[in-house]
Amino acid sequence: MTGTILGAPDISRALKRIAHEIVERNDGAASVMLLGIPTRGLPLAHRLADALAAIEPAFSPAERTGALDITMYRDDLHKQPTRSIGTTTLPAEGIDDAVVVLVDDVFHTGRTIRAALDAISDLGRPSAVQLAVLVDRGHRELPIRADFVGKNIPTSRSERVDVHLAEIDGEDAVILRRGEDA
């Protein structure tokens, strides 16, 4: 099955549900801090933060959302052309003793999250790290799992999952494409 798997209403519903799950899991959002992994994890983190604020008005999206660039922690740097380094911004109070929820668009091999965990340990010591993803497409190469999943999409390795977000691409959609070599 290829084509558009999730449309804008589906994405919005999935994020609302994940926000509720985050609140449920952590007995509220008081200690939750959202870190988006650029590029598309970042707008997702901001949307999740707004959804959390809708559930818990005491939650301040601006003070509890950040960006975590993982470029310098990747394990495949020497196999690809040099990547530009993105910006890491942490909430002013830092991540020590917070519950950090990592936010990314597509969960695939798990290597990005491995890199993110290393990056976090250089930035502080959160009380827990959880993972929220919009799409889980399987094919894990490391023993890492997600805590909150928007949608599980079974894929073959040759297929591609493209996430489009209004903030970056002008529209909200998750599109499954056949791989170029398939």
Binding site: D69, M72, Y73, L77, H78, P81, R83, D122, L123, G124
Partner: protein, 320 residues
Amino acid sequence: MKHLLTTKDLSREDAIRILDTAGQMAATQEREIRKLPTLRGKTVVNLFFEDSTRTRISFEAAAKRLSADVINFSAKGSSVSKGESLKDTALTLQAMGADAVVVRHWASGAAERLATSGWIHGSVLNAGDGTHQHPTQALLDAYTMRRHLVESPGAAGLDGLRVAIVGDILHSRVAGSNGYLLNTLGAKVSLVAPPTLLPVGITARPELEVFYTLDDALDAHEYDAIMMLRVQRERMTGGGAAFFPSPEEYSRMYGLDAARMARLPEHAIVMHPGPMNRGLEISAEAADSPRSVIVEQVSNGVAVRMAALYLLLAGEEAAA
């Protein structure tokens, strides 16, 4: 990019990429844990045929913050003092598996020779060759100017800024590198020096304006940055006497003191690549004033060198 040898052929795009990457590197240096795993397993050799404190330490700190292994090699106390040639030294480094060689040499063109000879496989970073080029110094100067003088530094050049470079242009690889880089980034450059301390043919380069006294230069333009160069007596035959009559006269004509600093615009910054000759090219008041960014240049140097090492070493091996 495989090597960083000169700013002459550095494109504006590449230069801005280095400055932007340096900005991200600088941000990581404010963390509690400043070490990054990025260049784990890479070996960087500091090959220094000439004395240097800040450049060598700066490259060493940059490589170590990125988790590369660093081997320091200085000509003093090595086989070079027994007469080993640059080629044989290079072959030795190649045999040790150097991924990058940071080279400082008293001969202009040494870094280029090392990079193009086929003696070594790794990247070559020029850390100063004779009186020719010192690209990372120019890049850290540009980074410092951009931080202080450009409103939103990300992805920007130095367009419209005016910079005066004052002093021993003839012997200065810092001036050599800055002349090209500042021009590439869109800044206008004035060179200020006695005629004896200007390289032959410099007046033929239309992008550089030349003044023979500092007062003339200050009358002509409002400067955003003024860069004082060290009088390099070790490179002058006769300890300077062949180039200017006396240190006192040099200081009177070309030195930056409080009175001349007062003629600069309010926002202008004072720069010096170090080491300074206090009382000769720069007075203590100027060097220690709040407008002086001389100490900040040193810490920016680490971030810029981290960026250069990252961009040369982190990606898949680029074609030469």
